[in-house]
């Protein structure tokens, strides 16, 4: 398969892994954060930890949009869809994420009209096909998915479709990285930068990380070879005492980003003054809302939103895991009360969430004999 197989070639991968072993200083411990949930998933899926030296520690970052969404937002979105005339649409990623009264899938089982869509354009298509229904798209994601939401809203306006709205939960990546770096218990050496987000925002927005925080950052692709190459690039910088932004994912990420996508986003969205992130708390100017000009497509203004606030269970240590202070298995609930099937914290929900990835792919390698059947 083109664009996949050449980045999974075992021979090249083994050579790159050798280079990593040559570059590491055995006396040093490296803490690298992969910002993006897609990277976390790839690390586990391809078993990359097994081929890295043990003194390279990969810390899973905040870049899983499902994981950082506060539970109350899900309840709000589902509340709007309790009207029998409303069709609730969302990406498959959202379907198992629990609200207080259950996940979208559970609501579907109880009779709510919940549909999985592959893109917001599919939701708009559904609205066109069902003029007597109101189709609401529950939008999530970083700058990766925000442009397609923006373009869909622009198209809905152009085509005069009125039975369509967006419940907007789009967030932006830079404030999250800043929050991580501002956290006092955080000690990171470098960042594996988000790949898909960077196709939109480009590499420039990361420059402050290198200049002000003196941390190397390499924007990386998602195949095993991409990630290993990015680690080589980070190790070279660390060895040379440098801190700069580099782009490993050049085949997809232009340095300046995607101007058309950025333009669509800024036409439709503006920054919210603040937004709550699960595990990280309120972060100012970290999320997008729909501009007044497109208010008719904003589900939050079109309907009355209950504004549910739900605090995470005290025992769940999602924030610490999200910031990389704790490993998933160090959380008290991990694998006991909190499992992929019955997630307590959001990191256990999405397969990109570090807890779910760790649970699915890793921990039973060691714990296989002692782990009880989830009750």
């Amino acid at each position: 398969m083109k664009f996949v197989d050449e980045f999974r070639d075992p021979e090249v991968i083994n050579k790159t892994a050798e280079e990593i072993r040559r570059l590491v200083d055995p006396a040093r411990h490296y803490r690298l954060m992969e910002v993006c949930g897609g990277h976390t998933h790839a690390i586990y899926r391809f078993g990359l930890k097994d081929i890295l030296p043990s003194n390279i520690e990969l810390i899973h970052g905040p870049g899983c949009p499902v994981c950082v969404l506060p539970m109350g937002r899900i309840d709000d979105g589902l509340e709007l869809a309790k009207d029998s005339n409303v069709v609730f649409t969302a990406f498959g990623d959202m379907m198992r994420v629990p609200g207080v009264q259950g996940s979208p899938l559970e609501h579907k089982a109880r009779g709510m009209d919940v549909r999985i869509v592959y893109s917001p354009a599919d939701a708009l298509k559904l609205a066109k096909a069902n003029p007597d229904k109101h189709v609401m798209f529950f939008a999530i994601g970083f700058e990766t998915t925000a442009p397609s939401t923006a373009l869909t809203i622009i198209r809905a306006r152009a085509e005069g479709i009125h039975n369509f709205s967006v419940f907007c939960n789009h967030v932006t990546i830079i404030p999250a990285i800043r929050a991580i770096l501002d956290s006092p218990d955080m000690r990171l050496d470098a960042f594996i930068g988000p790949g898909h987000v960077s196709t939109v925002i480009g590499c420039r927005p990361y420059e402050w990380i290198a200049v002000n925080e003196h941390k190397p950052i390499v924007v990386s692709g998602f195949e095993p070879l991409d990630m290993l190459q990015s680690i080589v690039m980070l190790l070279r910088q660390l060895k040379a005492g440098e801190a700069k932004v580099e782009n490993q994912y050049k085949r997809v990420v232009p340095w300046e980003g995607n101007r058309a996508a950025l333009k669509a986003m800024s036409n439709v969205f503006e920054l919210r003054p603040y937004f709550e992130w699960r595990g990280l708390g309120f972060i100012s100017q970290s999320a997008l809302r729909i501009r007044d000009n497109y208010a008719e497509f904003d589900a939050e203004r079109r309907f009355s939103v209950p504004g549910v606030r739900v605090t995470d269970p005290k025992a769940a240590q999602c924030g610490e895991v999200l910031k990389g202070v704790l490993k998933p298995a160090q959380c008290k609930l991990f694998g006991r009360e909190c499992t992929p099937e019955h997630p307590v914290g959001a990191l256990m929900v999405s397969s990109e969430g570090s807890c779910a990835a760790y649970y699915n792919y890793e921990h039973r390698k060691a714990m296989a004999t002692t782990l009880a059947w989830p009750a």
Binding site: F91, G92, E106, T144, T369
Partner: protein, 351 residues
Amino acid sequence: MAVATDSTTPKIRFREPQIEMAHGAGGIASRRLVEGLFAPLLFRSPNPALNDAASVEIGGVRLALTTDGFVVKPLRFPGGSIGELAINGTVNDLAVSGAKPEAIVASFVLEAGLPTEMLEAEVRAMANAAQQAGVAVVAGDTKVVEHGKADYMYISTTGVGSYLPGIHIDAHSVRLGDKVLLSGPIGDHGITILLARGELDFEADDLRSDTRSVFPLVQAIAREAAPGIRWMRDPTRGGVATSLNELARDCGLGIHIFEGEIPVRDTVRGACELLGLDPLHIANEGQFLAVVAPEYADAAYNALCQCSGGESAVILGEVREQPAGSVLVTTRYGGSRIVDMLVGDPLPRIC
């Protein structure tokens, strides 16, 4: 309901307040429902072996007995339809239990308003599939529910089979060093259905469900390697990962499979890459897994490969001691990952 207080009180471990879709998806939740509610109340043995078919003795003759319900949307899809599934699904449950399918009874739940043309097409599909599988449909039942209370039609089939000589399927007979065989490429059925629902806006021209009877393949390996066959299963809902996890838990050993050996068609692989799905979790309707004693592995493998429809069979992996009760995939680069049962239905991952 009378409450029994003696020591035989069945222990109901299923405590979930309502039935969710996941309880029917063939993964962890399904197993919990069966083990926690059905088994303690309905089965005589407290720890019944949960196989594809039960073994019953009638008048000194041991028979394999199985039943399966079919609800699929859409009813027709590239490569098959609900009618074919209803025959082949039950035929395959018998086949992987080591039995020759002999007779099937079918039960229909039809929705009022169902066009006769649609029903006829499915009955014809069943007749064809039964003929191809060499099995007789001997009885049936029909119920009709109000319009809107069913998705066109549901079919349930029950099958009885006679055991092939010298074959005994039991997860507990699996030993260290046994080989895991797979009959052919995986994921065709599940991805075909996912795309045929038309909810995802992409198409694949060359993709068809793999629905078929696997009995000829089972018969072929039984002929060459019957004493060495320890366990077989058709990896339907929940895919190969779920079937192998069930095996791992039942036998208490670790199942190792090699990523490089997993046969997946390019179209299925491409769809899985795009949708963020693992082919190991995708349903199949015409493949089976077999665990075979090492000394019989080559004979079984060769028999499969020489049989029509078994050409792309592989030795997928082997049974080791650790990780006990789990399935471990060794990646092409020597890394490894645990592969668990599917939780709920496979959902596309986008953001």
